[in-house]
């Protein structure tokens, strides 16, 4: 995913060790990953801020190649999972009824690319969380298997297996439209 926006000049206080440049380059993708994980724009913005603050604290721990991207995704993922856990607890406490997933649109509604994308996103949302995050990290954010394994604290083989399962599920669900 390419960053397409014209970026503003970085603030003086975060101009250290390339962190300011990194912030400018990856703030949008960080926000989108947070949004994909938690679904709410306000929460996504808050998680993005918290993630960059934490990244600043452990900036020296980035990989030898200098890329801090897997580290940023790891922090974001942990923050998002924590928020999702708290939401689940809150839902249980409130004894709220689980919301039915939005039904997939029928073939007539899938005439346009946008509607097919909407159907795909609904199908992705119905994947188990572990499969969904691997799929998004690979196909939307473009990480390699070994990077995804680091982000999710798993192994390369498990990443490969989860990705295979996720794609097969999506393929079956959207088979009529592929």
């Amino acid at each position: 995913m390419a960053e397409s926006r014209a970026e503003t000049r970085p603030a003086a206080a975060i101009q250290e060790d390339g962190l300011a440049t990194f912030f400018q380059q990856h703030r949008r993708r960080a926000y989108l990953f947070a949004l994909q994980m938690v679904g709410d724009p306000e929460d996504a913005m808050e998680l993005t801020q918290e993630a960059f603050l934490r990244l600043h604290k452990c900036w020296h721990k980035r990989s030898a190649s200098g890329s801090a991207l897997p580290l940023l995704y790891t922090i974001l993922r942990n923050l998002a999972l924590d928020l999702l856990r708290k939401r689940a607890v809150r839902r249980e406490e409130e004894a709220a009824l689980e919301q039915e997933p939005t039904p997939e649109p029928g073939p007539e509604a899938l005439a346009s690319q946008e509607q097919l994308s909407a159907a795909l996103w609904q199908a992705i949302l119905r994947l188990p969380q572990a499969q969904r995050e691997v799929l998004l990290l690979k196909d939307f954010h473009g990480l390699r298997y070994d990077e995804i394994a680091r982000v999710t604290g798993s192994t390369r083989a498990l990443v490969s297996s989860r990705l295979h399962d996720a794609r097969e599920r999506l393929r079956r669900r959207l088979a009529r439209y592929l």
Binding site: M1, R5, T8, P10, A11, A12, A13, I14, F23, R27, R28, Y31, L32, L35, Q36, P41, A44, M45, T48, Q49, E50, F52, L53, R54, H56, K57, C58, T74, I75, N78, L79, D82, K86, E114, L116, S117, L120, W121, I124, L135, L136, K138, D139, F140, G142, R144, Y145, S160, L163, H164, R167, E168, L170, R171, L174, A175, L178
Partner: protein, 147 residues
């Protein structure tokens, strides 16, 4: 029961698509695909799914929100540096003043007393903020989150 040849190959198609297979496995898949239209179709569908997922459109974060985020980060990060400078400087000054007081005890001048008052004031502010942070710690929503 042993998985069929098709099943074995299909289990590898996802990683083949991502160019994440070993050279040997990749070669095995390529040879199979040459003679198997069904698996080629399967791979085509996986490729289309991958492409569609990569092009999913999400609303951009509002630029104003991003600028606000940058401002908030800037403020919080510069505050941290400021506290380090204030505390480090105050500690060094305190040690120096104590050593000088022990070595050359005399009644302090007005200038020294004013400087001391500023130092003590800064230390009181520091401990007040530190106490507040410690009291807030149990309510920090991200406290338990690992980096």
């Amino acid at each position: 029961m042993q998985p069929s040849r098709h099943e074995q190959i299909r289990a590898l198609l996802s990683a083949y698509l991502d160019e994440e297979l070993t050279q040997a496995d990749s070669q095995r898949v390529r040879i199979h695909l040459e003679d198997c239209p069904e698996c080629r179709q399967h791979l085509h569908e996986l490729g289309r799914l991958k492409s569609l997922t990569g092009r999913l459109a999400f609303p951009d974060p509002p630029e104003e929100k991003m600028k606000e985020l940058e401002r908030r980060l800037s403020v919080r990060l510069s505050r941290g540096l400021g506290w380090i400078l204030v505390c480090g400087g105050a500690a060094a000054w305190l040690v120096y003043a104590l050593v000088m007081a022990i070595l050359h005890w005399r009644t302090p001048t007005v200038k020294e007393m004013l400087g001391g008052a500023v130092l003590v004031g800064l230390l009181m502010l520091f401990f007040s903020v530190l106490r507040e942070r410690l009291l807030e710690l149990p309510h920090d929503r991200y406290r338990s989150v690992k980096k």
